[in-house]
Point group: C2
Chain length 246, copies 2
């Protein structure tokens, strides 16, 4: 029995999210179906670094699973990609130690959030960036507000209410903005993220960018530990899980 | 009554093509439905520069229609975009002379064809570029072969059999290749194109690029006027109608 780690990319548009849910098309279901077929019907369970919601994308999600097959890891990647639907691709497969765990061994993650600020959002970007109807935010203000978020804080203010997590202290190592053409990208790296945390941060900083909130409001929002003080949860389809660090 | 010219972009993925067909979702149907609603049920017929097939994209298709509404043209664009599905966007609307005709006034067109040569095609590109399973063609050979196509020829060899067009002489003004990251783009401009002509050219030059045909074979293919001598029709979803010239 070997433990394999796989890095995968998926277009979240047509998935009800990463995790298996009865009656829904999910990334985990598609992967487990293919692996189970490769193992001649023996059920193979995979573990991811964490779940992603419906319509959220991934360019660097990480999973692990145990396999009895002895095929070389590079052949493994090809065998998976041949059978997987085209909206999931396996980017890399490597053998790891038996104590590697895709979720518990995580030391950090990086997410990206994309707003499309074209006057008419290109039809080709409608599932991959959030339309702003041509609104162009003040990015200097967004970056200044972001600096109240970087660091170690209790991030209860940026955590969706329906969560069972008790300790909400996390460290955000970096949070920065850049333009790629008419699209604004936010890249955030941290040692861990609460449920909906990146989307609530994106939604709150966007409100700063369009002048609905002051830069310095962020200090009070973080200190309040009150979800009701932060902004709206930004839409799922602008979000990408980009890297998982171990 | 004013005649309006509109430049539109659409993601061809979920359309059965441009032209209205019974029981199918088409670009023309969506546009006419919105225009007819704006005209309080009075049927508005639109005319395009030409049809595009199922899954073919457009970044610069042109249409015309006549309207009794007196709203300014910039407001017209917004009114259309608010009601259209997100996979069609109106990029520009302008008033034109009553004798402008989106199809008969065309002086030329530009198309783009995109191959994705990543080892694993990104899931985000699966509808917007043609997967080559990591094959990287010899672009110098493709360009050399393309030079037998540029110019004025009877292009019967690059015309799908099921066409009623009699005169198959057209002029290709330019045909060039460029890399954008790991994607190969072919851009072709001509005074007119026969049915499937760009896709058959793309398929034939691809076969040169991967060594299935010789560069100089193109001379004989063009001279033969025989569709059977040319290569396969390249898939629809790699094709973009980019510009229409008047």
């Amino acid at each position: 029995m070997r433990r394999l780690k796989a890095t995968i990319s998926y277009d979240g548009t047509l998935f009800a999210g990463y995790q298996v849910q009865p009656g829904e098309r999910t990334v985990q279901l598609e992967l487990e179906n293919v692996l189970t077929k490769m193992h001649k019907g023996e059920k193979v369970k995979i573990t991811a670094s964490g779940r992603t919601d419906a319509r959220v994308h991934a360019t660097g999600q990480v999973i692990h699973f145990d396999t009895t097959l002895t095929i070389p890891v590079d052949r493994y990647k090809k065998a998976l990609n041949v059978q997987l639907p085209r909206d999931i691709r396996v980017l890399a497969v490597e053998e790891v130690a038996a104590d590697f765990h895709a979720r518990y061994s995580v030391s950090g993650k990086q997410y990206r959030y994309i707003w499309n600020c074209e006057e008419q959002q290109s039809p080709f970007r409608r599932h991959y960036s959030v339309e702003t109807n041509g609104l162009k935010p003040n990015v200097e203000d967004m970056q200044a507000a972001a600096n109240y978020i970087v660091g170690t804080h209790d991030f209860s203010c940026f955590c969706a209410a329906n969560t069972s997590v008790v300790d909400k202290v996390r460290t955000v190592q970096s949070l920065s903005f850049s333009w790629q053409g008419e699209e604004l990208h936010m890249v955030i790296e941290g040692n861990g993220f609460l449920y909906n945390m990146v989307r609530i941060i994106a939604g709150t900083l966007w409100e700063v960018g369009i002048g609905k909130r002051e830069v310095k409001d962020l200090e009070g929002i973080v200190a309040s530990m009150d979800r009701g003080r932060a902004g709206k949860t930004a839409p799922a389809h602008g979000l990408y899980l980009e890297k998982v660090f171990y």
